[in-house]
Symmetry: D2
């Protein structure tokens, strides 16, 4: 990758491994060393597995080594309960492949994010819809019946609300609750508008500083927590800088009268090598200039987020899909019945 | 204004009269025929009065004829209770100048917007913080005591929630409640990031279709409602198209190595006449191209909104400031005490 | 009924026709003139039909003439999604028998109650979970597809919030929206603890002043609204006076060393004729004395409500059951799929 | 105290020390060994200090040894912002006397209770209104300015939501955050209706199992947490059993034709020695019988709570009063300005 490409990419923020991969190899014609991937479709849902297996690939992708699953269902943007059920079941299946819940599981689900900010509230909302059982298993197991495993759930808030780094709160709770696995749910930033509220990413390597809609300064990983951390994330916002960069690329490309190929569509991966920096075009979008334009807010460490106006409905719908999937994956008794019924 | 300028402006959306004026006459050196304005500062708060007095000016400004007050306090973005009190009192004073509440006033406050979407929830939030008295004045006036006038308040929701055009709901309520004045509160779209959550616009000509964060298809005006409608609005979002256009102008200007004058700063008024469309630059931002880039959402009639991440705190704070100002303006008894105490 | 019986009953408040009947004829051995009833069970759910057919019966029952359906599922207090689905479907069926929705239906659902008070929030919560279609049928019918009928929904708030009598707000909306049927949802007061959050009453005669958790001063009936009004209510509270009266009866009965028959159990119907007012017992519970004890609140026109501490979960669950039932009854397309999937 | 008296008291639940004292010594004519108290009035607000100094007194009072302050302002039930400010300042002063905040203070405020249940939501609501500073003092102290001390705040939820004993969650957070003092806010149960939402209790001995609206199984005390725990509580509910017992006493007393003395008024302390258990009266309220009447809920470990219908407004108002008082007590900078302005 040339310096030019790197500079371009630094304008773009994405928490999705699949988008990091698209930005390096948009046309999928070339392999990225250290990155393995496979992809298939299932009734309107795309499922991609991406493994980042070397430190070199980690640097190139700007994503931590580990295994990522990307589940994408564009139809979720329309109210469609059949599709919601289907995605719920796919989430359950893919989560179970990674987390391998069994009767010894003591799961702690952590709903990250700020419940007062709609696009950041997915984590807390998912936790509210879970079938929480840890206390019942300990205190009145006979009342719970078979087929339910131990699940606890907390929504620790964000630093602006609590005055405490979120990772510290979780660390403290983990040391008391002593789960043998953590599932952390978070709202993410994506590069592509199409992926907002239609995509679920599950990863086996936890939550890393700087990811998500809110600012995290401490990771939530097996290293920091002492038990495996599965991460589940849903993009709900674009960073404003990303939106502007995306659009300027497209404008630039058009200015050069290039026929627009699918790879140039900024709502999918854009091939930075296609960007002509020469005469007649805008050249590379300049991060400094973009940031200057956004400075009334970014100057205070505040950032701008871009969301569809229907964000509240999207967030409600996807939260139910995720909670349904988790309930099915964790509790065999729920799985026997339809997942849909537990969407709440 | 040339066609070129007009095309540029069509990319930009603002619900603020002051921004419409800045776009036409950014340097304030030239008068706009049919537009009268005055401006002064008061302890860190700018207060502008703008009157649009002719149909020609209405077309040029793309704002309905009438009187607008713009109250702008950049410091509101920081938590500052003294400033909040000051702005509350200025809002009360300017509102009273326009609305002229007296003991015969029967006010209906209408909180427009969707309570489930944080930046669109200002209207409903303001209504929740009002000192509502209509029922007490009618049923138990002795309990209310002197110094309170009749105020009712409703939050009618948005069409996506109710299935009914909001204007129809309000019209029906007005015909039953028979107020002699309506005060409609709405969240607005601005052009300039700096104005989000720091600016209050009060106007004497109601709410017009297409304004505000949500989609309105029917105006809420004296014509449609039969009684005077005062509008109070607060910008909480930028349209994504506006953000991109703003930024591209700045980038374009920089690409031409023009020293950046204050008037070029896209976070204030940009002078479109300064935009060189010639060699080396990007030319005019092209609305079609921008919209294409944003199409995954705009294609469905959905639009993207841009907000700071701290939108929830901003919205809470400004709602209290507005409710405090309204309570002081309407109820002499509240005015006797400090407005601040009624911020809730 | 003797004067003694009447005085006793005046302490008791219930919005349920089935409880009014139990209080008059607890042992079901005697007919009440002008009241027809039938009852059957269906997999753990009791379904009672009660018709009040004469003015005399109306006075005796203290319930307006009309047809009432009472659906009671004690198991709803436990989280049980199968039972929730079943009750949803029974609600759909019984609602359809009364409302006879067809392709000409233009339904307006009104969610009564105060969204800020958990046990009074059922109406607004149900409306939030409905498949609202009126605007789509009018504006983009091709997008909606077949199998959906016209449903609008509003939550008008309560007088303490709006300053306006709720019936006036609804009347105004009805005159604009012009539905041909209203379905009004309300939280009710019951006499029997067991019925809280486990019972649904559907009636074909609207909502009458004084019923429900909140205070209504104007009815919502075909007379006042001009179109048929179907009422759906769920008891979520006991009045404090009712709780005390219930308990004192039981204590009194015990004080007389009567073996307690099932009919004496105050958590079901108590036979007032069994109450010995003579020596050794407490005599009739005295409403005046009870009210005096509760006076710190009732003196101000405020009343005390009794709820289980888990009221939030119960209210969420039953709201989804009702919304699911309404969606199935109104929209054939939803009925084709399982009701459960539309529980939200 | 006779056995009879003890049995009577076992029906009554109160979390307030002042009510425990009233039940033992209603007429205040007799001293209770090991209990010291003083009382004064200040512009419509009663302030009582009660110290329980011996294990014998602890058992007699059924309240843990320690110092309690009771601040009671009946006028709070009416909207009265002057009185709210006054109570806020008294809370600040009394809290400071007990907590002795200084520049070395590292305070963690814990908002106990279930945010989904209105009368149990006071703790979480107070935390939302606090001026949280811990993160700013650590990361950007220059931005905060002088006059602010370190305050963090969490709302850990309740066991039914999280699956974890609340005390464990707090313990874990304390071990990470390492405060040198905890202030725990909780909603309480009172005996007397008049005290609901009008009374604040501050104590220097933490939160004990079984107190509060929710069920706590583990104390939050200096013993369990390792740092001093100040408790601040506000009664928002009566237990249903308490309500029934209160009322039956009054009825019983009246049945004996005793002229009602102030001490017999069950909305203040009732003198149990006055209860005639003999002929003609009801005798002692029998807890077993009362509980049987309430069994549909209490049988499942669920309990009934009694609240005024206006509970949402009362809870909002009192939360702001408490948050205002805490902000003033902790932050000298806030104290310099009026407390009222920080009520939010």
């Amino acid at each position: 990758m040339s310096d030019k490409e790197r500079q371009f990419q630094s304008n773009i923020r994405t928490d999705l491994a699949i988008e990091a991969k698209e930005m390096i190899a948009p046309q999928q014609e070339k392999d990225i060393p250290g990155v393995e991937s496979s992809s298939y479709e299932e009734e309107g849902v795309s499922i991609d597995h991406i493994s980042i297996t070397t430190p070199q690939a980690e640097r190139a992708m700007n994503k931590t080594m580990g295994n990522y699953v990307n589940i994408e269902a564009p139809g979720l943007r329309e109210k469609n309960t059949d599709l919601q059920d289907e995605v719920s079941n796919i989430v359950a299946r893919e989560l179970q492949k990674i987390a391998k819940f069994d009767d010894n599981t003591e799961l702690l689900v952590v709903g990250l994010g700020n419940w007062n900010v709609t696009p950041d509230a997915i984590g807390p909302k998912v936790v509210e819809d879970l079938v929480i059982t840890r206390h019942l298993k300990r205190l009145v197991p006979e009342k719970l019946g078979p087929g339910f495993r131990s699940m606890a759930g907390v929504a620790p808030g964000v630093m602006g609300i609590t005055g405490v780094e979120t990772g510290e709160i979780i660390k403290g709770i983990v040391e008391q609750v002593k789960p043998n696995m953590i599932l952390a749910i978070d709202a993410l930033a994506a590069r592509n508008l199409e992926r907002l509220n239609t995509t679920v990413q599950i990863a086996d390597n936890g939550i890393h500083p700087g990811s998500g809609v809110g600012n995290k300064r401490m990771g939530i990983t097996e290293d920091s927590m002492g038990v495996p951390v599965v991460a589940m994330g849903i993009p709900t916002v674009l960073d404003a800088t990303t939106l502007v960069s995306n659009t300027m690329e497209l404008v630039n490309n058009n200015a050069q009268n290039q026929p627009q190929s699918p790879q140039n569509n900024p709502s999918r991966g854009v091939d930075p090598s296609q960007i002509n920096t020469g005469q007649g075009g805008l050249g590379k979008p300049n991060k400094q200039v973009i940031n200057q334009a956004l400075s009334p807010f970014s100057g205070e460490g505040q950032t701008l987020m871009v969301t569809p106006k229907e964000v509240d409905r999207f967030v409600d719908d996807i939260s139910e899909v995720l909670a349904g999937g988790i309930n099915v994956a964790v509790h065999p008794r729920v799985a026997e019945e339809s997942a849909g019924k537990y969407l709440q």
